[in-house]
């Protein structure tokens, strides 16, 4: 419970620091990108704090680079 409160508090703090500035300068695109990144970060962190297994992007990279990796290490080793 404590980590979730901490994550939400920091997300709120980040929003309080940036959003007034974004609205004042009328930066729409920045606002959307900021909100999307913050949302992913907050939801991801909460899931992580609940010990949910989040997908590891490195597994994806391993699968993509497998053929090239095999070729390269066949040569180097």
């Amino acid at each position: 419970m404590v980590p979730i409160i901490g994550i939400l508090a920091s997300a709120l703090l980040i929003a309080m620091i940036e959003i007034p500035n974004l609205l004042k300068k009328n930066l729409k695109r920045e606002f959307w990108l900021f909100s999307i990144l913050l949302l992913i970060g907050t939801v991801g962190s909460i899931l992580k704090s609940l010990n949910v297994n989040l997908p590891n992007p490195f597994d994806f990279l391993t699968a993509v680079y497998k053929p090239f990796s095999d070729f390269l290490f066949g040569f180097l080793e």
Binding site: S10, N21, L33, I40, K48, N56, Y65
Partner: protein
């Protein structure tokens, strides 16, 4: 392309500051774990592999300088758009930045946490270290490139001072016969460690094309600064590997997780000056900090460029949150990390550090030809 990231185009650092940044970026996290991997594959010939890697890397530095000088006022993401067309360029930039964010800063951050918890503060939870380090990094990136450059100028004398102390104090324990036999199994076993060094120290330097040469005030001296910075950084790594082999021997170097830290634990001056490794660790934190900060700065500027944003600063705080999160996810264990760092990291960096600049160069030559005919 007009109107975006105008502010960043006006930030300038001197070529001297750029040199220091390249040096610290090259040393980065490599100073912690490079000797281990080198000694694992090349045994007592690890130092030859390291020298081969650093010298071979000069060709790639030449390539990056060539790419940077194609259109000196543009950064890498603008080059993508210019050379590959708007949509292809933008999508390539986005994929490049996304994966670089995950593989570069997130994995370097893992090393910060793993190093501190395994060597210095074993009972501190990793997330707290990641969060604190992320806050400092994001503060640095928020203040901009000029501040990063100036702080690098302030930090580098400390780095060099600690490094000299380390070299001087461990050198009495050198055992020269540890290097023999030289090249007993021929040149083949040292190829993989040399490529591994390139993949950690040289290929990621491509991201510095985000600031080179457009953000450097003295553009005539910028290429020289790139070479010098790279060679200084490479020199530090060569000295570290040589000392590890000569003092710890290839066996212990290959087995320990952070051999350079094991090395400074050996410092013993007259049974009096001992166990000063925690002070020496400041050296590591300086190089890791600047590597992470430059990664984050370049990626934030790049994303702002891709989405035509006027400011990159609003993205930094959420990016910091994602960095702290992903640095906990990407490596589930040290065993996973060691397999991934050889089997996937090396091919991945070859694709971004060799194929990608060659693609840009090819596109540039093609464009110039079709313009002149």
């Amino acid at each position: 392309m007009k109107g975006n990231v105008i502010m960043e185009q006006n930030t300038k650092i001197s070529s001297n500051q750029f040199m220091i940044l390249v040096m610290l970026f090259t040393i980065g996290s490599a100073i912690l774990f490079i000797p281990s991997g080198q000694a694992h594959y090349a045994k007592q010939n690890a130092w030859i592999a390291t020298i081969l890697g650093v010298v071979g890397g000069l060709c790639f530095i030449r390539l990056y300088i060539g790419i940077g000088n194609l259109y000196p006022h543009m950064n890498l993401m603008q080059l993508n758009e210019k050379l590959l067309g708007k949509w292809v360029g933008k999508s390539l930039s986005l994929v490049f930045l996304l994966f670089l964010f995950l593989t570069g800063p997130a994995s370097a951050m893992f090393f910060v946490g793993n190093f501190i918890t395994s060597q210095i503060m074993p009972s501190t939870p990793v997330p707290s270290i990641h969060i604190l380090f992320t806050i400092v990094i994001i503060m640095g990136v928020y203040l901009g490139l000029e501040t990063i450059g100036r702080s690098a100028e302030i930090m580098i004398p400390w780095f060099i001072f600690l490094f000299m102390i380390m070299v001087i104090f461990v050198s009495p324990q050198i055992k020269w016969d540890a290097v023999q036999p030289i090249l007993d199994k021929g040149i083949h076993p040292i190829l993989l460690p040399a490529v591994s060094l390139l993949s950690v120290c040289t290929f990621p330097l491509i991201i510095l094309l985000m600031i080179f040469p457009s953000c450097i005030s003295n553009s005539v001296q910028a290429p020289k600064a790139f070479y010098t910075g790279y060679l200084l950084g490479g020199g530090v790594l060569i000295i570290i590997v040589v000392l590890c082999i000569l003092i710890l021997g290839p066996g212990i170097t290959a087995r320990s997780l952070y051999p350079s830290y094991t090395l400074v634990k050996k410092i013993d001056v007259g049974d009096f000056l001992q166990r000063i490794e925690a002070v020496m660790a400041i050296m590591w934190f300086i190089s890791l900090y600047f590597r992470l900060t430059l990664y984050c700065y370049a990626i934030a500027i790049g994303i702002a460029q891709v989405f035509n944003l006027k400011e990159h600063r609003p993205l930094l705080l959420p990016m910091g949150m994602l960095l702290a999160l992903y640095s906990l996810i990407v490596y589930p264990s040290t065993a996973y990390e060691q397999t991934w760092d050889t089997r996937t990291w090396i091919p991945y960096t070859i694709s971004i550090g060799v194929f990608y600049p060659l693609l840009l160069l090819g596109a540039a030559i093609f464009r110039k030809r079709s313009q002149s005919s």
